[in-house]
Amino acid sequence: MPAVQDTIDRVRKIDVDQYKYGFQTEIAMDKAPKGLSEDIIRFISAKKDEPSWMLEWRLGAYRRWVTLDEPKWARVHYPKIDFQDLHYYAAPKSTPGPTSLSDVDPELLRVYEKLGIPLKEQEILAGVQKTDVSEFEEASDNVYKSGRVAVDAVFDSVSVVTTFKKELAQAGVIFCSISEAIREHPELVKKYLGSVVPTSDNFYATLNSAVFTDGSFVFVPKGVRCPMELSTYFRMNEKNTGQFERTLIIAEEGAYVSYLEGCTAPQRDENQLHAAVVELIALDDAEIKYSTVQNWYPGDAEGKGGIYNFVTKRGDCRGDRSKISWTQVETGSAITWKYPSCILRGDDSSGEFYSIAVSNGYQQVDSGTKMIHLGKNTSSRIISKGIAAGFSQNTYRGQVSAHRKATNARNFTNCDSLLIGDQCGAHTVPYMEAKNATAQFEHEATTSKISEDQKFYVMQRGIPEEEAIALIVNGFVKDVIQQLPMEFAVEAQKLIGISLEGSVG
């Protein structure tokens, strides 16, 4: 993703704050009044032109949510969130179908410019409608010369544009916003939405079910290998808007898809809540690879103002021999509460979780995974690398369980923590539970400090201190970086370097 690459290069040059995406735009927002009620949910549903079954689904979730309390078990601390003090809907003002960049809201363009997005790509992100299709395709080719990536840009809550649709459609792949899917493919949405993360799942997921405003929908039909990486490149943008994304990815029998999610956010004073839900469904012999690079505003040097990220991500290996793989690089947010999980329901199915979680400043990360072995001969693999610097707290929380009928379940877990400095903390909380005697679970964990000997050795070769630390840390996380698609791998390595800036000295 050259856009994100450019952004990072540019960001390195601006030396304002620890976090350098520090700007905010004022795009005339079409938004709901603050607070949450059945009326607000009706407003959202109406805004989105939803069928009545969808509204009923949301209302059901909302009625459930009012009976729930926020979970308290994670090792994170934050002031109480006033859920009535948030806006639950915001859409950028749309001028339907601009024909050139001059028709696009200049504020929007300014945001892209600050992010260092090339012009051609701005056109695509802003949804400029080219009358000449070939010109459009040429533009896309220029933008994505480093690889074939289809972008579904989410600007705050509404998908601004979707590219590469045509080629995907030829392959029979559906890639669109969830709102569009609800309108255009109701039978698929009805069948799968909430089938992995039910509306009653947990406090944040239930809230999301009631108020989600956008997100992506991917459907890869039987036997199809998705011809390109799919990617959502989204930013949160309006003050105090809760961001509630809902992503649903379905790979039918024998299908394959790789999905990339990455984002940056502008600086702001008040805390910003993010509670996304991602559901993955893999049928027989299908494979889904889901990669995330998360770099949201972590708060200022005192730890104020960062994003609260409470995410529910779960994959269901519903079919035999299916495979789901989560790879995440978490560097941002003030609070991260996130456990991408796999339900290994099909026989011979497998799940993977590769994670890098970097925390610096006053960030708090409580992240990990759950591998639930239900089918026979299921296997899972967990590689977690936590890096804590500054005053941050970094917790790995993992659960591996084998059901009574899950004969020959296998798990390998390796979680390593690296500490930089002596004011931060790393914690490992693994739960293992085997109800079937044939299960084989292996667990390895290490905690180490970045060694002065290593740092001195690296610096002796002429590598400055911060680069030396970034190099050693990138070596430490190598096993996970290798799991990322190429474009993301390079980007992620740079991001890790940036996130650790100021961790020494």
């Binding site: 690296v458 070769r461 002429g462 070596g475 190598k478």
Partner: protein, 251 residues
């Protein structure tokens, strides 16, 4: 090129003085050998030259090309041309040797205001240097020093030295752990770097290395001081008679 004047240095943690009034001058183009019993402070001296923070200089100065380097951090010293081949090179897990070489070479170039090396040029330099040290390129794909044998680590140090082209090379017991053939290869590598504008300091216990890398001067370090200096015959004398005589004289 290097002038160490009445250097006193102690361990920051416990205040123990290790270097106690050390004087040493090494001119450009010179190969100086430093010998001395175990624990006399040879490695400590090399670390202090390279700027390790565990030691604190309490008195005296280190001049490199006439200027004090005491305020420079290890990376700055390295980019100014000081290279230390470690007695015990560190393992850097997950960082391919090749990648490490590229970062180190380009960081030094950047500090000198030069463009990063183009990939083909970089590869060519690495291949040539590795071939001259009889090193397999496959090894360079492995993480730096991880699982390398003792001798392989020493060779990898010399490889880095060749590629970084330092002006002041300090080799701390590079000969230990090398087999007979490797010793010769490494010595040839070091000799190839001998030049009028470069100084080489070889720390060793054995005359054997000095048969291959013939020193211009030999210095005996004892309890943190240079107690005797001479030419290459001093090394032969030490080999034959041990340190007792020299220490006795100094006492």
């Amino acid at each position: 090129m290097l002038e160490i004047k009445n250097l006193h240095a102690r361990i920051v943690d416990d205040g123990t003085e290790i270097i106690r009034g050390l004087n040493l001058t090494v001119r450009a183009g010179e190969v100086a050998a430093i010998m001395g019993p175990n624990g006399s402070g040879k490695s400590t001296l090399s670390y202090i030259l390279a700027g390790r923070e565990d030691y604190e200089v309490t008195e005296g100065d280190i001049l490199y090309n006439g200027e004090s380097i005491l305020e420079m951090d290890p990376a700055e010293r390295a980019t100014s041309g000081i290279f230390l081949a470690f007695q015990y090179p560190m393992e850097i897990p997950g960082v391919a040797t090749m990648e490490f070489l590229k970062v180190a070479m380009n960081e030094q170039r950047k500090a000198r205001g030069e463009e990063p090396l183009k990939i083909p040029e970089f590869l060519k330099r690495v291949k040539d240097a590795a071939a001259s040290l009889n090193m397999d390129m496959a090894m360079l794909k492995r993480p730096l020093n991880v699982g390398f044998s003792g001798g392989e680590k020493k060779r990898a140090e010399i490889l880095q030295m060749k590629l970084l082209e330092p002006k002041l090379c300090v080799l701390d017991e590079t000969d230990s752990g090398l087999d007979i053939d490797a010793l010769k290869i490494v010595a040839d590598g070091v000799n190839a770097l001998r030049s009028p504008d470069r100084a080489i300091v070889v720390i060793t216990h054995y005359q054997r290395l000095l048969q291959y890398i013939v020193p211009d001067t030999v210095h005996v370090l004892y309890r943190g001081q240079v107690i005797k200096s001479g030419d290459k015959s001093l090394a032969l004398d030490l080999e034959a008679n041990g340190y007792a005589g020299v220490i006795g004289q100094a006492a």
